[in-house]
């Protein structure tokens, strides 16, 4: 291919050309408009950055080729006959192209999100280094604020939410017997929007005035007044949100319209249920954070008055709109994990999931109740006082469906034949840690307790118990569980167990003591603290460093096992769900023959029980044939 052809065709060459062009365009646009209106100065760095932050990612997406097919289609031109040209990955290079294969996109998602998880983790290490002793160690307070803000934003928007989308992307079409997602090209676009958001957030460190330093909540009017770095968050979140909505829409349509024959809703694996309900939350709630960030953007860029109380604006409004997304977002970060745990526990305890229907109904109850609790984040905000008690009650109510799930998992384990594999260890660790986080959550629902510990380390402890001990443990469980399916190779079990025990012990040593210093009144989001907290903080920092190093074990295990681990069998866990009935990794289009579903997904230990049957087991597909 000639160089000109490379520049014309979709790919990195065109993307690397279109991005600088869009920067030049943004500059010209801003300077041109300012000249037209006669504003001074003509060259406004903040305005140019704002326009460029929107234009450059879009130009990249066009350049890399996310829109090519749609452009041809829209113009009524013949689309390329091989509209799935990007299907499958033959070499590692194919993972760096726009690819419409859900399995490739799933791995793209997981690897990308782990890159940002690693960056976010390093930021956490810096935070703990600064907090190892009272006084200032090596960062000034503003930089410190930037560190924890970018840490939280990356972990939430670039790791937990999208890594679940990645796992689901890989597993869900396989689980429901579909060849791909409903909208493969939209799926590719959703993936490629994600790194845009992440790069933007990390790049905010290079903005004049430092990274955005308003926490991941970016409360107005603080966020409308801080330096330029904030703009990177405000716009970055829009890309992450758009990516999230597009994926959720795709999951919903895929699950509703593409299930295998015989797979009724109550024969779906609980991971599919979990992602179905999560996707409902995403589609309904995510536009609210988009709205809140639009208002911040308008106030900053266009001088509007949404959060300027002198001109009729309302600052509490930001928190209402923000939390109307961000509380459901807590469940967006948890429900897919619930699904993973149901799969792992039932396969490793060799028992049907206890109360399958109640597990599904409790997910639905969480979706509904999740929209009614947002103001429990605002007990000390100065909002209308009458709103407090209803929010306390609904918050306590939401513990009921969550409790149903915990008890159902325990009942699933009851008298099961428990195999303590790495995914199972993480699942059991999850149940204990998440229960602790849930209990501190119910404590926080109680208004007087919340007022006492608001903005202390108790909150930090709670959020890490539910998001690390909860969500991230389920992510580890899920990755170890489906690693053989995704890569066709087995991970090192011994390293996996070491990773679990090190994380489990040092997770608790890191975040457990935070409850104590929190109740004693150590404020969060401050670079310094009183001398009385010095001992505990030294303990926390040392534990955090060991905890951080335990993650290196995981990385080492994943990378070396992916390169040259032993070949994995099609069904190493002897699980019943469909993804285990095909080869590891699965064939290009998942199933040579779409299976028919004849029973529930978890009938372990029930003689003769089968989930799906393959009508015509061809000789080639012997490994993917029917079950025993």
């Amino acid at each position: 291919m000639t160089f000109a052809a490379k520049l014309k065709g979709p790919g990195w060459y065109r993307a690397l050309l279109s991005v600088p062009l869009s920067l030049a365009f943004s500059t010209a646009l801003v300077v041109g408009v300012r000249a037209l209106y006669g504003w001074d100065p003509l060259f406004d760095g903040e305005a140019i950055t704002t326009v460029a932050l929107i234009a450059m990612p879009l130009a990249f997406l066009v350049g890399i080729g996310c829109f090519d097919y749609w452009f041809y289609w829209a113009a009524g031109k013949p689309t390329r006959d091989e509209d799935h040209s990007g299907h499958g990955a033959k070499t590692w290079k194919d993972y760096f192209r726009v690819n419409t294969d859900h399995k490739v996109i799933g791995i793209q998602y997981i690897v990308t999100t782990f890159v940002f998880f690693t960056i976010g983790g390093l930021l956490a290490m810096l935070i703990r280094a600064e907090l190892a002793a009272p006084g200032t160690q090596f960062v000034d307070p503003n930089t410190y604020n930037g560190l924890f803000s970018v840490h939280a934003s990356l972990m939430i928007f670039l790791f937990i939410i999208p890594v679940f989308a990645g796992i689901a992307n890989y597993v869900i079409p396989l689980m429901i017997g579909a060849p791909d997602m409903a909208f493969p090209r939209l799926n590719a676009l959703s993936y490629w929007m994600l790194p845009m958001a992440g790069i933007m957030m990390v790049a905010s460190f290079f903005a004049p005035g430092g990274a955005f330093a308003t926490g991941w909540t970016a409360y107005a009017p603080l966020s409308t007044e801080v330096p330029l770095g904030q703009q990177f968050f405000t716009i970055g979140v829009q890309f992450a949100g758009a990516s999230s909505i597009a994926t959720a829409l795709n999951f919903l349509v895929t699950i509703i319209t593409m299930r295998a024959p015989g797979m009724t809703f109550f024969r779906m694996p609980l991971l599919v249920w979990a992602n179905f309900t999560t996707s409902l939350l995403v589609v309904i709630a995510t536009p609210f954070i988009a709205g809140s960030q639009f208002f911040v953007l308008f106030d900053r860029a266009l001088g509007m008055n949404f959060f300027n109380s002198a001109n009729g604006g309302d600052v509490i409004m930001y928190q209402h709109i923000f939390w109307f997304y961000s509380h459901p977002a807590v469940y967006i970060m948890m429900l897919p994990g619930f699904g993973i745990i149901s799969e792992v526990i039932s396969a490793n305890a060799r028992k049907p999931v206890f109360g399958y229907r109640m597990m599904a109904f409790s997910l639905c109850a969480i979706v509904v109740l999740g929209f009614t609790v947002w103001a429990h984040h605002m007990f000390v905000s100065g909002m209308s006082a009458w709103l407090r008690v209803p929010m306390m009650i609904t918050t306590m109510l939401i513990a009921i469906p969550t409790g149903i799930k915990i008890f159902s998992w325990l009942a699933t384990l009851w008298r099961g034949v428990i195999h303590l594999t790495t995914p199972m260890l993480f699942a059991l660790g999850f149940i204990t840690m998440f229960t602790l986080g849930g209990i501190s959550g119910v404590m926080l629902a109680v208004i007087p307790v919340d007022i006492h510990v608001s903005d202390t380390y108790f909150i930090v402890a709670h959020i890490h118990y539910v998001l690390f001990g909860g969500s991230v443990f389920t992510i580890f469980a899920g990755l170890y569980f489906w690693f053989p399916k995704m890569t066709g190779r087995m991970y090192d079990e011994r390293l996996g167990r070491m990773h679990f025990w090190l994380s489990f012990v040092f997770f608790n040593l890191t975040f457990g003591p935070m409850h104590l210093v929190g109740v004693d009144g150590m404020p969060r989001r401050v670079a310094d603290y009183a001398a009385e907290f010095a001992t505990w903080n030294a303990v926390i920092s040392v534990s955090a460093f060991i905890f951080g190093m335990s993650y290196l074990l995981f990385l080492y295990n994943m990378i070396t096992s992916w390169r040259n681990g032993p070949k994995a069998a099609a069904n190493p866990w002897r699980a019943h769900t469909l993804e285990w009935q095909v080869s590891s990794p699965p064939p290009l289009f998942n199933f040579d023959e779409i299976p028919t579903i004849v029973g529930g997904p978890y009938e372990y230990g029930v003689p003769g029980a089968v989930h799906g049957v393959f009508k015509k087991p061809e000789p080639v597909a012997a490994a993917s044939g029917g079950k025993e």
């Binding site: 399995k103 060849p179 791909d180 319209t257 309904i284 709205g291």
Partner: protein
């Protein structure tokens, strides 16, 4: 990933994934558009929440002293937009019954009516006499009408695609999703305008 390619070597002529099982009577594309509209409604919901806080919770006068909203002109504009809902419906019905001229004229008329709406809206902004930065009421006025205007623009883009394709001879009695789905979106944009018009201009 080698195993993935080997399994399908015998299918050299076969492009794209095999047909999935259809587990719902609803078409995937139609369902996708409906879900997208739900999330669009929620985006408008966030803007209406801001409107509610500014107008009801803060309780300053609406419209603010400096705001003179051209209710009658916007009313005419509303009528233009609503009539475009009728023309896109006609275009779709024509497509279904094989009336190619009806399809083309219907799509063209819808596009022109939509473009007229947008032009009148922009003209209103130019002549309205208060900037978005003057107060919170002005901010939410511009934001809500602007958000709607952006959606009209997206709808128009889809309509231009459909019109281009119609004139190039695409769409048949059986295959007309390219008209139907932009049509669903266009109806949504119309209905949303009625809500915006009522809350911002009328009450």
């Amino acid at each position: 990933m080698e195993a993935a390619t080997i399994a399908h070597e015998g299918h050299g002529h076969h492009h794209g994934p095999p047909e999935p099982n259809r587990s719902s009577r609803v078409e995937a594309q139609t369902l996708g558009m409906y879900l997208f509209i739900i999330s669009e409604i929620m985006l408008f919901g966030a803007f209406f929440t801001a409107y509610f806080f500014i107008r009801v919770v803060i309780g300053d006068e609406w419209p603010a002293e400096n705001m003179h909203l051209p209710v009658a002109v916007a009313g005419v504009n509303t009528a233009i937009l609503i009539s475009s809902s009728a023309t896109i419906h006609w275009a779709l019905e024509s497509a279904k019954s094989g009336n190619r001229n009806g399809l083309k004229v219907g799509l063209l008329m819808t596009t022109l009516l939509g473009a007229t709406f947008l032009a009148i809206q922009i003209n209103e902004y130019v002549n309205i006499g208060f900037p978005p930065a003057s107060n919170a009421q002005a901010s939410i006025f511009y934001s809500l009408t602007g958000l709607h205007g952006a959606h009209v623009f997206i709808g128009l883009t889809l309509l231009v695609f459909a019109t281009t394709r119609a004139f190039k001879g695409h769409f048949t009695e059986k295959e007309h999703r390219g008209v139907e789905i932009p049509g669903i979106y266009w109806h949504f944009v119309d209905v949303m305008w009625i809500v915006v018009y009522t809350t911002i201009y009328v009450i």
